[in-house]
């Protein structure tokens, strides 16, 4: 019984860590995409120097 509960808890923590990672990765990639890659004029002009300095394709 104890083993079963332990296994269940471990499984739950594994899933929540995986969900946490996926969620964080999507948010992080979203921020990098909007700030570094979206070609809308205002965004492009504001982030221009940073995009070049960070090695993102800019123009």
């Amino acid at each position: 019984m104890t083993t079963m509960t332990a296994t269940k808890t471990a499984a739950k923590s594994n899933t929540s860590a995986l969900v946490g990672f996926i969620f964080a990765a999507v948010i992080g990639m979203g921020i990098v995409t909007v700030a570094g890659h979206v070609q809308a004029d205002t965004l492009h002009d504001a982030a221009h120097d940073v995009r070049h300095a960070t090695g993102f394709p800019c123009h």
Partner: protein, 226 residues
């Protein structure tokens, strides 16, 4: 779980981003401003006269450089979310994460997000000849994602199969090849282009190492608090 990841990522990303912004303004921005003199036609390379290496460059511009600081902090916060998310997953699987080994995490992130794409699409000065931006972005994202998976396989995989797949993932984008322009048309001296790429890559490495250290520090602290 997610609150801890988010808090650590915000602190680490913003702090490292501010340092990255200062390093970029000191070391990278002057090269970019110098190149813009050629892009705008104020100076002409091989235009009949030789141009001095020392040129009068515009100074600090509150609006332009302020926006650069803001966007650098934002981009490093984005990196931090991915890095801390991966750290959370690793520490859940029993790998200790600290500020010290966070530096290695940071260097692995640098290889994935900065160095791997730069091998075939080096950081470019304004005005250089380049292929269509959407094509380059698609190649950039593909290269970054495959290099990130390769870093995870090298860090946590065991055995030749994992390392072999990692090597293939690292090499494939460069064997396929990045989109290239049809003609060379850049007006900027190659010396400036080389200096810009070197500076951008150097500042990127320093900034990512600092980001990894901060991310490891804030994550291990958040985790210890439970």
């Amino acid at each position: 779980m997610f609150a801890k990841i988010g808090t650590s990522a915000l602190f680490a990303g913003f702090a490292a981003g501010l340092i990255a912004a200062v390093l970029q303004l000191i070391f990278v921005q002057p090269v970019l401003l110098h190149a813009e003199l050629y892009e705008a036609g104020e100076l002409v390379h091989f235009g009949g006269t030789l141009n001095a290496v020392e040129q009068e460059l515009p100074g600090f511009d509150a609006m332009r450089d302020g926006l650069s600081v803001l966007f650098t902090a934002l981009i490093y916060t984005g990196y931090a979310f991915m890095l801390v998310g991966a750290m959370a997953l690793a520490s859940d699987r029993g790998h200790a994460v600290t500020a010290r080994n966070g530096i290695i995490w940071g260097i692995a992130g640098y290889i994935a997000f900065h160095f791997a794409p730069a091998v075939s699409l080096p950081p470019e000065l304004p005005g250089v000849a380049a292929a269509d931006v959407v094509d380059r972005q698609i190649w950039w994202f593909g290269t970054v994602i495959s290099a990130a998976i390769a870093m995870a396989l090298i860090g946590f995989g065991s055995g030749w199969a994992a390392w072999g797949v990692a090597a293939v993932l690292l090499l494939a984008p460069h064997v396929i090849g990045a989109p290239q322009p049809e003609y060379f048309a850049g007006p900027v001296p190659p010396e400036l282009g080389g200096e810009f790429a070197g500076r951008a890559l150097g500042v990127g490495l320093a900034s990512w190492a600092i980001l990894g250290c901060f991310a490891g520090f804030f994550w291990s602290r958040a985790e210890a608090e439970g």
